[in-house]
Symmetry: C2
Subunit: 127 residues, 2 copies
């Protein structure tokens, strides 16, 4: 079984970060890890974003996050301990992670309030 790959902080790229976080599932996982004080295992996220995510898919999402340099994963017995690397990334790309997490927050707040009011956004026409 191949060993876990963690890029060194200098090999982390902006493109990699943006690509990893452009997926809603990965963004949700990462947001939760970044907020959480303690490490979390993968299975905690089998129902993130209110959908059942197959284990294999989840595993690939964790791999994407890991290889983009966003999280660190360590085996602890039978589980995985996942933590975010946000403080390292903050050093190299100041403000980036905060702005992205904040934008996701803005967006989900709007989504919640519009569904409560009857999903007005869903029918708004494009130009």
């Amino acid at each position: 079984m191949r060993p876990l790959v963690h890029p060194s902080i200098d090999d982390i790229t902006v493109e990699g970060i943006l690509h990893a976080l452009s997926d809603p599932v990965r963004a949700a996982i990462y947001a939760e890890l970044a907020m959480s004080a303690c490490a979390q295992n993968c299975s905690n996220f089998l129902q993130v974003t209110n959908r059942d995510i197959p284990k294999s898919t989840l595993s690939l999402h964790f791999r994407s996050l890991r290889e983009a340099g966003l999280i660190r994963s360590e085996r602890r017995g039978v589980e995985m301990h996942n933590t975010s690397r946000c403080s390292e990334i903050e050093q190299r790309f100041p403000g980036l992670i905060g702005a992205i997490l904040n934008a996701h927050r803005v967006q989900s707040t709007e989504r919640d309030s519009s569904t409560r009011q009857g999903a007005s956004r869903a029918v708004r026409p494009h130009v």
Copy 2:
């Protein structure tokens, strides 16, 4: 020929923005548009990132940026006038675009200086 699609500001998603900017060519195009005071046509970017980009590929990149809500394109005679929509986006997702552009700047600065010194980063081992 299908009309140009511009999402309304409320339909712009973070995922869409991140995905669009996770491509180096699109990021370079967008950075240049965001910096530039005046509108620019597509052909100005046929050599962005020091590579020849086929016209058809470039056209799709502009379409991605447009449909992600990052730029606005208008036909002016035989050319296209492309401008960035950063002030709109700044309203909705404060700090996001600035942080991303800044991160790209950080990264390209490092790349430049490491190539000058003999590409030390290229051989640095991963964990």
